[in-house]
Symmetry: C2
C-alpha cells in the first residue's frame, strides 16, 4: 500500500507516512498543504481555517504546530520568523515544490480511500436494503 511519492528524500522515519494502512491517517497534513498552496499563512491562521476541512472548532493548537514542524522536517514546507508590526513573533509558512508533489500524491491516495468507503457503504446498503422488500 502506498507506493507513491518515494522520490528524493525519505530520511529518518521509515515507511510511508502519507496514509499507512488506515484509510486516511494524518488527514491534517494534506489539509495544511492545500491551504499553503492557496496562500502563505501563519500557524495561527491555519488553525482558524482548518474547520473548513471538517476539523472541530476546538482543535488542539499543539497538534497543528507539531504537524507544521513535522512537515518542515520533511522538507514539504518552509518557514521564517516574521517579526512584523506587533504582537508576538510568528512563523510564516510556505509550500515547497516537494510539498506540492506530496499534495498530488495525497490526492491520489485520498481518492483511493474514498473509493474504499464507497465500496463499504454500497455493501452496507445492499446488506440492509434487502430486508425492506
Amino acid at each position: 500500500m502506498c507506493d507513491h511519492h518515494h522520490h528524493s528524500g525519505d530520511k529518518k522515519r521509515s515507511g510511508c507516512h502519507c496514509g499507512g494502512g488506515l484509510p486516511v491517517e494524518k488527514f491534517m497534513q494534506p489539509c495544511l498543504l492545500i491551504l499553503l498552496k492557496e496562500r502563505f499563512a501563519h500557524g495561527y491562521d491555519l488553525i482558524q481555517m482548518l474547520p473548513e476541512f471538517g476539523f472541530t472548532e476546538r482543535l488542539d493548537p499543539g497538534s497543528v504546530y507539531r504537524n507544521l514542524r513535522r512537515l518542515e522536517e520533511d522538507g514539504l514546507v518552509t518557514s521564517h520568523w516574521d517579526v512584523g508590526e506587533g504582537g508576538p513573533a510568528r512563523r510564516l509558512y510556505s509550500l515547497t515544490d516537494e510539498g506540492e508533489e506530496m499534495l498530488h500524491a495525497w490526492a491520489v491516495h485520498i481518492r483511493q480511500q474514498r473509493k474504499r468507503m464507497d465500496d463499504f457503504l454500497d455493501r452496507y446498503q445492499s446488506l440492509f436494503d434487502i430486508k425492506n422488500q
Copy 2:
C-alpha cells in the same frame, strides 16, 4: 465529533472509539462487523475476506485477532470455541445486537468522512484546474 452510539455501556476505555479526530481510524472494525453481519465466521476466514475491503493481501493476522478480541470486550461480537472436525481449535464469531447498532453508527460516520474527502478533493481540483485555462 462522533456523538453517536453512546447507548448502553461505554465502560473501560474513555471517549469514542469509532473514529476519533481522524476521518476513519480503525477502519478494520466496521469491516469485521459487516462481515459478521453477513455470516458467522472464524478469525482466519475474516483474514481471507478483509482484502475485499481494500486491506492488503499481506495483512497482519495479529491485528485482526486483536481487533476481534477488542470487539468482544466491547460486547459487539461474541465467540465460542469450535472444536470441530479437525485442525486446531478455532473461535466462531457472531455479531451481537449491540454490534449491529454500532455498525449503523459506523455507516453514519463513514458517510460523514466520505463527504469530508469529497470536499477536500473538490477544493484540490478547483485549485489546480484554474491553471489549465
